[in-house]
């Protein structure tokens, strides 16, 4: 760790230079340089991520503009900018600092550089996925890195393909990024966990609202009645079959090199045809990666990768990790976020994929013996 003010300044300058060098690589690959502000309106981020973002991002405020956040990443402002003014197709690159609270990991940096590359292009999503992955890999140089990849789209397709009520599917889809709650819901819908006593009593009651306490607050009687109705419908619906749960578990446990994972998922899709289109999208991606000169035979695919940390990614996800350094965060991450463009696009949407590198980590790894 650099100690003196001169050392610290030199280290920061080196990181900034590296961030700029990486950005120049992406610019040479055809990206337009963009430079979003550090301060972002808090409401957009809060609306997207909910309360969790407050645990991750720094919030500040003034009396005129209200709450602002120090940008926790560039993706959201770049998507907003593109959806407001961008011509299609578009490729963007940026380099700058992001800010993350690290209250649970005080040793981790709460302010660090990122250089990113984002592609908004509807012509060939598989090719765009491969383009981002290959460019990032190339920019990382010849460091010995382990690549991890997954595909949230396959899990989503599996949920959509379940033989159960739309309400249950929607609830499971909503919690794909919260594996614990997802599992609890699945167990409930499969009849593996008993119905809580309070709910059983509620469902047994002919008129649950008959002599309840005085109703206060904004949530009105109609909303309560509507939820009771949904609970009755749910209680009447047959459980999700053990077989279907086993198929979901089979998908979630896929973790092998890309060609084997693809075979495995194709086997599963025989019993669960709903995932076939998503599996074929993965196949097209594998081919596009191969065409880009990536050695797909050694790449690891993990179906549950990216479920906990990257809420806006909804398809292809990837990360690069330093071999033997599980103490370090990934040196680069990325993925597809089509749904984010829909949320921020006010009616418009465009397939989008991107990735970021942490130049500071890259320099540390290069300097390590």
């Amino acid at each position: 760790m650099p100690q003196s003010p001169a050392d610290r300044t030199a280290a920061r300058t080196a990181i900034r230079d590296e961030a700029t060098r990486l950005r120049a690589l992406f610019e040479a690959a055809g990206a337009q340089v963009v430079d979003p502000p550090v301060l972002q309106p808090a409401d957009t981020l809060l609306d997207l991520y909910g309360e969790d973002i407050r645990a991750r991002a720094y919030v500040t405020s003034d009396a005129v503009r209200g709450e602002q956040m120090l940008r926790p990443d560039f993706t959201v402002p770049v998507v907003q900018m593109h959806m407001a003014h961008g011509a299609e197709p578009a490729r963007y690159t940026y380099a700058g600092e992001v800010f993350r609270r690290q209250e649970d990991f005080p040793d981790r940096a709460n302010e660090y550089f990122q250089t990113g590359y984002e592609v908004f292009d509807r012509t060939d999503p598989a090719a765009a996925d491969a383009e981002v992955f290959a460019l990032i890999r190339e920019a990382l140089g010849d460091l010995p890195l382990r690549a991890a990849m997954g595909d949230i789209g396959i899990l989503t397709a599996a949920v959509d393909g379940l033989e159960t009520t739309p309400a249950r599917k929607a609830a499971l889809r909503r919690h794909i990024w919260r594996p614990r709650r997802f599992r609890a819901l699945l167990d409930r819908y499969a009849g593996r966990t008993p119905v809580p006593e309070t709910r059983a009593a509620l469902l047994a009651s002919a008129d649950p609202l008959a002599d309840c306490a005085p109703l206060i607050g904004l949530r009105d009687r109609a909303e309560i009645a509507a939820r009771i109705e949904r609970l009755r419908d749910d209680a009447a619906a047959p459980p999700i079959s053990e077989n279907a749960v086993a198929l979901l578990d089979a998908i979630l446990s896929v973790r092998e090199t890309l060609p084997f994972a693809l075979d495995h998922l194709r086997d599963i899709s025989v019993d669960l045809p709903a995932i076939a289109p998503a599996v074929e999208r993965l196949a097209a991606r594998v081919e596009a990666l191969s065409a880009r000169g990536i050695d797909i035979d050694t790449l690891e695919f993990e179906a549950s990768y990216g479920r906990t940390s990257m809420e806006y990614y909804d398809g292809f996800v990837f990360g690069f990790y330093a071999e033997g350094r599980s103490d370090l965060p990934p040196v680069a991450t990325g993925g597809r976020y089509d749904a984010l463009t829909r949320v921020l696009g006010q009616g418009a949407e465009i397939p989008a994929v991107g990735g970021v590198i942490r130049p500071g980590l890259l320099l540390d790894l290069r300097a390590a013996p």
Binding site: D104, A184, I224, R227
Partner: protein, 231 residues
């Protein structure tokens, strides 16, 4: 050098703390003038009494400006990140019991668990266009608890007092607050969630991990620990 002991500067918490130490042979007393936040310690040498607001004691412990401090577990966990790296619990004092809980309107007959709260929050957001609001002053504790439980589509709104009233005034749909009895909840037509217990708090004696100590101070601390029955 002396060991500085931080104690809440007023009210029942101060009196109970004085009684707790008195029962163990250490007499704490506030100086004659009620306005002066200074005190005296008898029964052990080289310990200095510092009277502080209970809410400031966690910060003073973390900064190492006091060696020991009495405050609620809730305050330590809310205010200090990685609290157990910064302070050590020496003894639970057996008073100042308070539970941090989540409560919803008692008329919500369809909501009894966090699972229900999450589902109701999703429907609420779809219907009203904003997230279900939970009023609290314990932002970190509540957020960590709900994240761990996988509850989504809620927003915390700050409430520094009269939190139980926020639902009636429609500035929040639910509350997360300290309750020593259920009476305030019932009077405000609220009920506990079955699995909505965030933290059971009580007055606790903490040791700062950051405060500087001389050899003599260590001896003093050891003697004090012996007197209060802490290994």
């Amino acid at each position: 050098m002396t060991i500085k002991l931080g104690v809440p500067s007023k009210g029942r918490l101060m009196e109970k703390t004085f009684e707790w130490f008195a029962a163990r042979g250490i007499t704490l007393s506030r100086s004659a003038s009620e306005r002066e936040y200074a005190g005296a310690v008898d029964g052990i040498d080289n310990v200095e009494l510092v009277l502080l607001s209970a809410g400031e004691i966690p910060r003073e412990l973390a900064a190492g400006r006091i060696h020991l401090g009495v405050t609620g577990t809730d305050l330590v966990r809310e205010k200090l990140g990685q609290w157990d790296q910064q302070v050590q619990e020496l003894a639970e004092l057996g008073f100042g019991h308070a539970d941090l809980i989540i409560a919803v309107p008692a008329a919500w007959v369809d909501v009894d668990t966090l699972d229900d709260l999450d589902a109701a929050a999703a429907a609420f957001r779809a219907r009203h266009g904003f997230r279900m609001r939970i009023a609290t002053k314990y932002h970190r504790l509540v957020r960590d608890f709900l994240r761990h439980a996988g509850v989504a589509d809620y927003a915390l709104v700050d409430s520094q007092g009269a939190t139980e009233g926020t639902v009636k005034f429609e500035t929040a749909e639910a509350v997360a607050d300290i309750t020593s009895t259920g009476e305030t909840l019932r009077a405000n037509h609220l009920k506990l969630l079955q699995d909505g217990m965030i933290l059971r708090s009580q007055a606790t004696l903490f040791r700062s991990r950051a405060a500087d100590m001389t050899e003599a101070d260590r001896a003093t601390l050891q003697q004090l620990c012996q007197m209060i029955g802490v290994d």
